[in-house]
């Protein structure tokens, strides 16, 4: 059926997309501005990018953020996938509603509440067990808690649409349920797991509020450093840093999307061939 668009509908769509993209494009353009004045174009320059390399505080924070994001997203992928398997495959078990509620709540819970409650837990735990020290460990734990939600949702929808007959066939042929799951279903879930790992990584890399609460003295993540710089106003070196982060994430997402589509197409092709 041929769809007709009303001009109004088209205008709103374009305006909405423009709102989403214009600020970022302007920011990237001005990160190459030679002039330190933020509203005057002084010619093309990469000076601000070079300046970043000499900012020790910034580099340290970036390293900490990358370590946190890598650890947190890796743990979250495991726990989130387990949750998805439990919710999709085990129809009834004690605590199902509790698990559904807990895994979904971080999606809407204001970060500031999560941050403050988790800090109070960590402080009370430290009093009792002398663990955990506020810093890397506590930031990772908090990030895992909210990243789990995104992993579960992504993997869950993939698992629901996955064909169970292959796994059942494998079990009929004598492989155990765990082996059938690992050899048949896990490869089908792989694209969803990879994309949720990437999403968790970027969400963790981006988190300001929760990290600010649960981190201790001396452990500043990249968003914390950026926030304190940005509070002072717009500055060209932050523009450069922001462009780098946005560019890296953008390229990562596009490559991952391409790889996943190719894997999906190959799988679809194999399925077609197998059915002949």
């Amino acid at each position: 059926m041929e769809q007709r668009y009303s001009p109004l509908l088209l205008t709103v769509l374009c305006a909405g997309i423009a709102i989403l993209y214009l600020p970022i494009l302007v920011l990237i353009a001005f990160s190459f501005n030679a002039s330190p004045l933020v509203n005057v174009w002084g010619g093309f320059s990469t000076a601000w990018y070079l300046q970043l390399l000499h900012d020790r505080q910034l580099l340290q924070a970036a390293l900490l953020s990358l370590e946190v994001a890598f650890t947190a997203s890796s743990v979250a992928v495991v726990l989130g996938t387990m949750t998805a398997v439990a919710l999709v495959r085990f129809s009834k078990f004690r605590g199902r509603l509790l698990l559904t509620g807990m895994v979904n709540a971080p999606l809407v819970m204001p970060e500031i509440i999560t941050g403050i409650t988790q800090l109070l837990l960590f402080v009370s735990m430290f009093q009792l067990f002398s663990w955990p020290h506020r810093g890397f460990t506590t930031i990772v734990i908090s990030h895992v808690a909210f990243c789990c939600a995104y992993v579960t949702i992504t993997v869950q929808s993939r698992l629901q649409s996955a064909d169970r007959s292959l796994e059942e066939a494998a079990m009929d042929l004598g492989s155990g349920p765990a082996r059938a799951f690992i050899e048949i279903t896990l490869p089908i879930l792989a694209p969803a797991i990879l994309s949720s790992w990437l999403l968790s990584f970027t969400l963790s890399l981006d988190d300001l509020v929760i990290s600010s609460f649960v981190s201790g003295p001396g452990a500043s993540t990249l968003p914390m450093v950026i926030f304190s710089k940005v509070k002072l106003g717009v500055s060209p070196d932050v523009n450069a840093l922001a462009s780098l982060i946005i560019g890296a994430v953008g390229v990562g997402v596009i490559i991952a999307g391409y790889l996943m589509r190719r894997a999906d197409q190959r799988r679809a092709l194999e399925m077609q061939l197998a059915e002949r």
Binding site: L13, L20, I24, M102, V103
Partner: protein, 296 residues
């Protein structure tokens, strides 16, 4: 057929269940407990609610002072109401802007749909903090908007947007628009086309088809999208503190200041608990629709 025998299942269920129980749910109990403590000048900066006396009896020392303080100091009530109001109107604007967008995407051809969806989702992958910062580059006094308008001669002096209520609204709409569009798209896309065609064949004009069929059937998406915008927006901290002025005291900012500025953890805990109670209704609505959608 069972995937695993019953005891084996718990190997998969327990790790995430325990993790979330300990590090997501139980923290609320600790916050609840500490909201009844008093601030104290040591580490950690609050008194014990439970104390053990010399004869090994457990004593409960509850102080309601923090909650009383919330009611006596105007700042909190004003900030709560202001946050609710700001979140409510931003949600309405997001809905007004996001509904036509989702509708247009749902009606596009499959190939266009994928591209448009990618365009909507991509900002979601870019840093929230950096996007708010990028918006500042547009709306500040010597930003792009004012430069262009001045150049065109449409205005003679820069518009003052930064540090105003308008900036906070722009920030929330800009940041949360994708959260509105995606659930709306999901419901609009699932809509049964034959219903629309039947109504049109029976002589219903397009606007009536929309009001009678499309709109009622998309209500779950409207609710999911609105909650995904409304609830986080009430607790928003980054946007009011970077774009807003001193008048834009949203509760997230008050909580932050109480904690990092005044170091009064028990009052901050009480603010958080009161805030959570305030949001319990909307969160329950969201969870209800979420579970219903997943089971469907």
């Amino acid at each position: 057929m069972k995937l695993l025998d019953r005891p084996g299942r718990w190997l998969i269920i327990l790790p995430p269940l325990l993790f979330l129980l300990i590090f997501f749910l139980i923290p609320f109990a600790f916050a609840f407990k500490i909201s009844f403590a008093d601030a104290a000048p040591h580490v950690p900066p609050f008194t014990d609610v439970f104390t053990r006396s010399a004869d090994h009896h457990l004593h409960l020392q509850i102080s309601l002072a923090n909650y009383q303080y919330l009611f006596t100091d105007d700042v909190y009530g004003v900030a709560y109401l202001y946050s609710l109001k700001t979140a409510f109107f931003s949600t309405l604007i997001c809905l007004a802007l996001g509904y036509p967008m989702a509708y247009a995407i749902a009606r596009a051809s499959k190939a266009t749909q994928n591209i448009l969806l990618l365009i909507i989702i991509l900002p979601f992958w870019t840093s929230f903090l950096l996007r708010v910062y990028a918006l500042e580059g547009i709306i500040r006094d010597n930003g792009l908007l004012n430069t262009v308008l001045l150049h065109l001669g449409l205005i003679h002096e820069p518009l003052r947007i930064m540090r105003t209520t308008l900036a906070v609204y722009l920030g929330i709409i800009y940041s949360y628009l994708p959260f509105m569009v995606l659930p709306l798209f999901a419901t609009l896309e699932k809509l049964d086309r034959s219903l629309l065609e039947a109504a049109a064949d029976l002589g219903s004009p397009p606007w009536k088809v929309f009001l009678d069929i499309t709109l009622p059937l998309s209500i779950p998406g409207v609710i999911a999208g609105s909650m995904l915008v409304f609830i986080p927006a009430v607790g928003e901290f980054v946007i009011p503190s970077l774009l807003g002025g001193p008048d834009n005291l949203m509760i997230g900012r008050v909580l932050w200041d109480e904690f990092f500025g005044n170091h009064d953890w028990p009052v901050a805990a009480a603010v958080a608990i009161a805030f959570l109670l305030l949001l319990a209704g909307p969160i329950a609505i969201y969870q209800y629709y979420n579970v219903k959608q997943l089971e469907a």
